[in-house]
């Protein structure tokens, strides 16, 4: 290992492997039985100039070995640990300059830090100082690991060395903890903002991971100092406080206390800048145990920029503002909003927070939805220059916001999220004016347009619900008419992203509104249908895929609806099916083919493919098209279709799927079995399923296996499974046995007989029944789940893949870490 630097023998990988293996056995036996381990460490230490990666590995290895107290003692006896982790080790050599060595050192120490001797070894050797220094390491990985290590050591020290519980009056910390706490206190009192920052990070991580009561004792010692950071402007630590307070708020030690802690949180909301207080506010609003007054204050902080926007736009009095009073001086928010550099970022942050809140199913507070919506509309109108503000602040903001795509996107996201909240109905008319202006404007960028479509579809659903309840059909019809007019134009856009999102929008609308008469009428009277069908031949494959999906959904309204309207399009029902089948068999790109197969499955699920005979022919045709498709997702889609087909057929023919359903008599049951088996054979289902078992892409094989197992359950109640022994007597038996052998070879069976050349007749119901009964599908199932040449998730394989792809150059080896 010391010599070999080939890609396969990566030291990190060995380290992980060894670590996982040896952590199971805490005795020293392993080291004693394998003297090569200590020899290896010794020989690395003897090298005049060990390579940083080998040294780093050695440090990690030694750390892992020293994790058990017995092995620690053994390594101590041989003075290996001192030489590796002590003052005379790499710590004071030139190699320390290398980040991987420092990282190895920290990780090694972290690994061994499971017992008091290790703790004392480090504290006595001055290791604490080193770790504190490493908190400010230029390598972020090392710095972060050092912080974690300190938290770990502090917790270990308190929890393993304490003899009696701590109290605020008598805090007799164990020695190691004492050292760490002293260092934290010192750096908090220092004037160095980086030291303060490191300590605050450390505390954040401590309070986040440790919920023991002693953390409160620790906190009480430093609370005053931290409180002072809120008001002292000389120290730049405010931005770290939000995280610290949030991590404390989640800890039962603090959030259940009366007074102190929450007073500090309130003070933080007041004193932090809006940008710093935003994350704290949104975090607090997610918290159930937050006192109501703090919650309201947090909400106020969050809504302040939105309130400011409303006021700046000088809207009529009914929407005078969002807030009755503000937590901090509104001038701060106003000045942030009137500066070019901060306005967009503050608004985007606020909007992101609001979206986060609105996405929560249960919000612990009520948001003023109407005013919020009004404020969002104002922002959107500022952004496209449609609003003329009367106030000077409004003019400044409008000037900054015009054409800001970032703000537009964020505002539209919130707008979409807001559609699910009730109480904004009075503004619907003007909301759609804003949305339509965005949809119509040629200046709307494709990404903003996509978001506008998303928001529009959600609000159209809301509009429809409302017009059902208040019978304002006229407004709805007018809006739908306008939407379809602009959709027509967008479907003709030269920009494919626009065509694509227009089609997605159409699909989304059909999904939600296809049962609504007004919607259907507006849609059918527009040119949208024709344009959508034209896009099935778009040069861009994404657009074709979206067009397939849209046409597939349109079919629910046009062809499959009970009273399907007579429309003179170039495609009628048969033509549309034929067109989609043509795409499935000839489109050179995978996306449109995937879209077709998923639409076919959807149609089948919804029972749109006609009577059983028609469906059988349809499925059979589709199977023959997709079984040789080069795209595994299309083949997988084909299997899904087959699964739906099988379960529907079995259901239709009366085989109860539900085990508690009344059992039909044995005679009728077997007749139906027979019939469905015949149907499956005729539709060439088995051919496809067995062939898929050997598919080179495992998800296909797994799915096929699952479907076959399902079918077997239907045809063989558990008790009647056949023994494969003795079945080889018949011809069918022999061929099935061959199939079984072939399948055992798994994906290696490259030459799977598609023509039944080896005597397996996949269309013979008898053979297939036998195959279902005798082939050990469970074994195959396990086998398929084990082998993983398609979806390979282990880090080892990933690492090997990376190394194999990039080849080994010394630099990229480091990158792989």
């Amino acid at each position: 290992m010391r010599e070999d630097r080939s890609p396969g023998s990566d030291s990190l990988f060995y380290g992980l492997f060894l670590g996982n293996t040896w952590s199971l056995d805490p005795t020293a036996k392993l080291v004693q039985d394998n003297p090569c381990l200590t020899e290896f460490i010794t020989s690395v230490l003897a090298l005049p100039e060990p390579s940083p990666s080998i040294l780093s590995f050695t440090l990690r290895l030694a750390g892992i070995l020293a994790a058990s107290e017995n092995r620690f003692q053994l390594l101590q006896q041989e003075k290996l640990l001192v030489r590796l982790f002590g003052r005379d080790g790499p710590l004071n050599s030139a190699l320390w300059e290398d980040a991987s060595v420092r990282s190895g050192w920290v990780e090694g120490v972290h690994s061994m830090m499971h017992h008091q001797p290790a703790l004392r070894f480090l504290c006595d050797g001055g290791g604490i100082d080193v770790i504190f220094t490493l908190q400010g390491d230029p390598s972020l990985f090392v710095a972060s690991a050092a912080g974690q290590l300190l938290v770990h050591m502090l917790t270990l020290s308190v929890e393993s060395e304490m003899t009696k519980p701590l109290s605020t009056k008598d805090c007799d910390w164990p020695a190691c903890a004492q050292m760490i706490i002293k260092r934290i206190e010192d750096s908090l009192q220092s004037s160095s903002s980086s030291h303060i920052e490191q300590s605050l990070k450390l505390l954040t991580s401590l309070f986040g991971s440790c919920r023991a009561t002693w953390t409160e004792v620790l906190w009480l010692g430093i609370a005053k100092q931290i409180e002072s950071f809120l008001t002292e402007e000389t120290v730049q630590a405010q931005h770290m406080l939000a995280n610290l307070l949030l991590s404390m708020a989640w800890s039962p030690v603090f959030c259940d206390t009366e007074g102190g802690f929450w007073a500090l949180v309130t003070s933080a909301l007041e004193h932090l800048t809006p940008v710093q207080a935003g994350p704290l506010a949104v975090g607090l609003l997610r918290l159930y145990k937050c006192p109501q007054d703090v919650r309201i204050q947090a909400l106020t902080v969050l809504l302040q920029p939105m309130d400011c926007i409303l006021r700046a736009a000088s809207q009529p009095l009914e929407y005078a503002g969002l807030l009755d009073e503000s937590v901090s001086d509104p001038a701060t928010v106003e000045s942030l909003l009137s500066s070019k550099s901060s306005c967009v970022s503050l608004l985007c942050q606020t909007l992101a927070h609001l979206e986060e809140l609105l996405s929560l199913i249960h919000l612990p507070v009520d948001l003023p939805y109407t005013s919020l919506l009004h404020s969002l509309m104002t922002i959107l109108q500022f952004c496209n220059g449609f609003l003329s503000p009367a106030s000077p602040l409004g003019s400044t903001i409008s000037r900054i916001l015009i054409n800001s795509f970032r703000v537009q996107r964020s505002a539209l996201d919130v707008l979409a999220a807001l559609s699910e909240r009730k109480g904004c109905d009075t503004l619907l008319g003007s909301l759609f004016d804003v949305l339509l202006a965005y949809l119509e404007s040629p200046n709307t960028s494709p990404t903003v347009l996509k978001k506008t479509f998303q928001a529009t579809s959600k609000w159209l659903v809301r509009l429809q619900e409302l017009s059902c309840s208040n019978s304002q059909w006229q407004q709805t019809e007018k809006i739908l008419e306008d939407v379809f007019l602009v959709l027509q134009k967008r479907l003709c856009s030269p920009c494919w992203e626009v065509r694509d999102s227009s089609l997605e929008f159409l699909t989304a609308l059909i999904k939600c509104l296809r049962d609504q008469d007004e919607f259907r009428q507006s849609l059918l009277s527009s040119e949208v249908l024709k344009l959508t069908e034209n896009l099935l031949e778009d040069p861009e494959s994404y657009v074709r895929a979206s067009a397939v999906t849209a046409v597939g959904h349109l079919a629910f309204i046009t062809y499959f609806a009970p009273e399907s309207p007579a429309i003179g399009n170039q495609y009628n029902k048969e033509n549309t099916v034929a067109k989609l089948q043509e795409i499935l068999s000839t489109d050179p790109e995978g996306f449109p083919r995937r879209a077709v197969i998923s639409i076919f499955t959807k149609w089948l699920r919804q029972g749109c493919t006609g009577q059983l005979e028609d469906t059988e022919r349809f499925v059979s045709r589709v199977i023959q098209t997709v079984e040789h498709d080069l795209d595994w997702e299309v083949r997988l889609g084909g299997l899904e279709l087959v699964e739906v087909f099988c379960s529907q057929t079995i259901c239709q023919l009366g085989l109860p799927k539900c085990p508690y359903a009344p059992v039909s008599s044995a005679v009728t049951s077997s007749i139906h079995q027979n019939e469905s088996l015949h149907i499956f054979c005729r539709a060439k289902v088995f051919n496809f399923l067995f062939q898929s078992l050997c598919d080179c892409d495992k998800p296909v094989g797994q799915r096929a296996c699952d479907i076959l197992l399902g079918l077997r359950c239907n045809f063989y109640p558990v008790s009647t499974l056949k023994d494969s022994q003795g079945a080889e007597d018949s011809r069918a038996g022999r061929s099935v046995a061959w199939l079984q052998r072939t399948l055992r070879q798994g994906s290696l069976a490259q030459s799977f007989p598609t023509d039944g050349g080896n005597g397996v007749d996949f269309q013979d119901p008898e053979s297939m029944l036998l195959a279902l009964g005798t082939i050990d599908l469970e074994e195959l199932h396990d086998e398929l789940n084990k082998s993983s040449d398609h979806v390979e998730k282990s880090p080892q394989s990933l690492l090997q893949d990376i190394l194999a792809t990039v080849g080994t150059i010394e630099e990229n080896e480091a990158d792989c870490y």
Partner: protein, 681 residues
């Protein structure tokens, strides 16, 4: 070897024969910010910057139909409120609007503000900004030179040719002039009532005038330095807006004026804009910004394509009123990529203009004026513009007019590109009459020069759909503010329209030029003095003269020398030459007449410098025996009074006087004492 150069402060009034104004001035002759016509008086030159022709005046006239239009000929005459009908032959009413029934007329640049015969040169920035050229060169006594790039001249000629052709081919029997009478105009409805300078409106020029005007043009290339009378150097720079379009640098040795007119930072077909050369300008004159600052050209092209496709798919025809050159190249390129994807391959595209063929061909041969991508195509070799392929595959057909071949090939639905964008003349008038009645058809306005509502007014009522997609690739205000930050001129001068938000969107304070110090604005018929004074002039010293100089260091790093020379000035170049040798002492006793033409050269007196410290001077006086010395402070210095000798010594900053009563030895003595304190050189 180069002569040594001196820069000396220039006195406002010196011995030059032509009186020169130390200020530079801009005379604004056109109120149209994108069709500018300004005159810059700079150093001793008079430079006209662009020669734009405001054609919006034609919107007040009835269209000129190529084929007799029953609708237009039946329009009722306009009757005054009091029932008088004396104008009914001149003015016709259509859907509530009143139009002049006469040959369209154009609003010329101001000709009275200054004597245009004194214009030395005209610099043209792009082909749209030279349409008034024949009016200037042929009617004002202009004798100078016009400078423009080759594509500007060639395409400008095409535009003029199309204009002349489309007006001349529809001769109008009558010409209306009564309505222009000030008393009558007062009675007319808007916009005729408010039309400015109607007396200045002129009919279109003729082809011979165009040819004569164009013959005065001298072709220039980008970055070529052109000397004007030795005083000024002018240089065209690529402006990125159109083929051959230029900004101009006008500079002397110590001043630089940049003229930015019609520039674009977008990647379209022309060479990109040269921004770097605009740096360090004293004044930047900024004109020709986008006319539609709220419309992003990319979005508009998308809008154009979508509307075109929708119309054609519904079986309608599309009419695109346009100029024969410019944005049409980009539109055709866009359509080239779009038509197949939109399933429009079988729809014919017609380009109808008397200069269609030349325009399409010219665009392909000006390779050196194109953007890099298109230039590289030429070496492949491939035509730089894809419209060549559209023509080859018969998807794009071009015709000189609707007569002849076109009427045989004409198939509907189709897309027609034709002029003029004002909808007042050209073949577009015919298509408006032909297609206006059907709501299946669409007219798509892409040129931003005319208000589409005004353009459509004489065609009302109109069933045809109208789409406004103005594509203006010129700089918008965001780009301007970036440009100004980048090139940092000391002063910006621009039309007043750019210093306030557009009248219809008064809240859009982002739609104006924003710079420090605020821009100086001008309007039609205004003269603007540029905010800097010329301070230095460059003078060359002949090497022999320079050789003879003996500099004396008076302060560390500063040496002075007196120069006696003859200042020779010719063609705005100043040269110091050796003075003529002093006349030889006469060989004979005969007195010779001193030559008149050689200035007499007196022996040089040394120059003095330094200041006199009064205290020390008094001490010196006392040392030399003057008692009773009194010193008085005055506003400008001191008076040293020698009471006994009844003598005054006035010491001021720039002079010292010794006032004594006829005592020459005393004066000389005192003078020498004063001189001890001063340096001589």
């Amino acid at each position: 070897a180069k002569s040594p150069i001196l820069a000396i402060p220039e006195e406002p009034s010196n011995s030059f024969s032509k009186k020169r104004n130390p200020h530079a001035e801009v005379y604004c002759l056109s109120g149209h910010p994108t069709l500018p016509c300004n005159v810059l008086k700079f150093k001793s030159t008079t430079i006209m910057l662009d020669c734009g022709l405001d054609m919006t005046s034609t919107l007040n006239f009835l269209p000129l139909p190529l084929v007799q239009s029953p609708r237009l000929s039946k329009l009722p005459g306009w009757v005054l409120k009091d029932g008088s009908t004396f104008l009914d032959k001149e003015l016709k009413e259509c859907s509530g609007h009143v139009f002049v029934d006469s040959v369209p007329e154009f609003c010329l640049p101001e000709t009275e503000l200054l004597d245009l015969s004194t214009v030395d040169v005209i610099l043209i920035s792009n082909y749209h900004c030279m349409m008034a050229l024949p009016y200037i060169t042929e009617y004002t006594g202009f004798t100078g030179t016009v400078y423009a790039t080759e594509p500007t001249v060639q395409i400008g000629r095409l535009l003029m040719e199309e204009l002349v052709n489309s007006i001349e081919r529809v001769p109008k029997a009558q010409s209306a002039s009564m309505w222009k009478n000030k008393e009558v105009q007062r009675l007319l409805p808007t916009p005729l009532k408010d039309a400015v300078e109607v007396s200045m409106w002129r009919k279109c020029y003729t082809m011979p005038e165009v040819n004569a005007a164009l013959s005065k043009i001298q072709l220039v290339g980008y970055s070529q330095k052109i000397e004007l009378f030795g005083a000024v150097q002018v240089t065209p720079l690529s402006s990125g807006y159109a083929l051959g379009s230029s900004n101009w640098i006008i500079q002397s040795h110590y001043e630089k004026v940049s003229y930015v007119s019609g520039s674009s930072l977008l990647t379209t077909h022309p060479q990109p804009m040269d921004q770097a050369s605009l740096k360090n300008s004293d004044v930047l004159i900024l004109t020709g910004l986008t006319q539609i600052p709220t419309a992003n050209p990319d979005g508009m092209v998308g809008e154009f394509c979508s509307n075109l496709a929708m119309t054609v798919r519904n079986g309608g025809n599309v009419l695109v009123p346009c100029y024969p050159s410019g944005v049409i190249y980009d539109l055709l390129e866009c359509l080239y990529q779009y038509i197949d994807s939109a399933g429009l391959s079988n729809v014919p595209f017609y380009f109808i203009s008397p200069v269609a063929n030349s325009s399409l061909e010219f665009s392909q041969i000006f390779a050196e004026w194109l953007c890099h991508n298109k230039q590289t195509k030429v070496y492949l070799p491939e035509p730089p513009f894809p419209h060549a392929e559209l023509i080859q595959t018969n998807k794009l057909k071009h015709y000189p007019s609707i007569h002849g071949d076109f009427s045989n090939d004409f198939k509907q639905p189709c897309v027609v590109f034709t002029g003029h964008p004002s909808l007042r003349f050209g073949d577009v008038v015919h298509f408006m009459e032909l297609w206006g009645k059907s709501s299946l058809n669409t007219v798509i306005f892409t040129e931003p020069d005319f208000s589409y509502l005004d353009a459509l007014a004489p065609y009302q009522p109109l069933a045809m759909k109208c789409v406004y997609c103005p594509i203006d690739t010129r700089l918008n205000f965001i780009q301007v503010s970036k440009l100004l930050k980048e090139v940092q001129p000391l002063h910006v001068v621009c039309p007043e329209q750019y210093t306030q938000p557009p009248p219809t969107q008064s809240h859009r304070t982002d739609l104006m030029v924003d710079c420090q110090p605020p821009p100086m604005s001008y309007r039609r018929a205004e003269v603007l003095t540029l905010p800097y004074k010329r301070r230095y002039e460059k003078i060359e010293i002949m090497p022999e003269l320079a050789d003879s100089l003996v500099p004396l260091e008076i302060k560390p790093g500063i040496s002075l020398a007196t120069v006696s020379a003859v200042l020779h000035t010719k063609d705005n170049k100043h040269v110091l030459q050796l003075p003529p040798k002093p006349p030889q002492p006469p060989a004979s006793k005969k007195r010779k007449r001193v030559s008149d033409d050689v200035p007499e050269c007196k022996p040089l007196k040394p120059l003095l410098s330094g200041s006199i410290p009064v205290d020390q001077f008094v001490q010196t006086l006392e040392k030399h025996g003057f008692s009773d010395v009194k010193v008085e402070d005055t506003a400008k210095g001191h008076i040293v009074l020698l009471q006994e000798a009844e003598t005054l010594i006035q010491i001021e900053e720039d002079s010292t006087h010794i006032i004594c009563d006829n005592d020459e030895p005393l004066r000389v003595k005192l003078r020498d004492l004063v001189l001890k304190f001063l340096q001589k050189f």
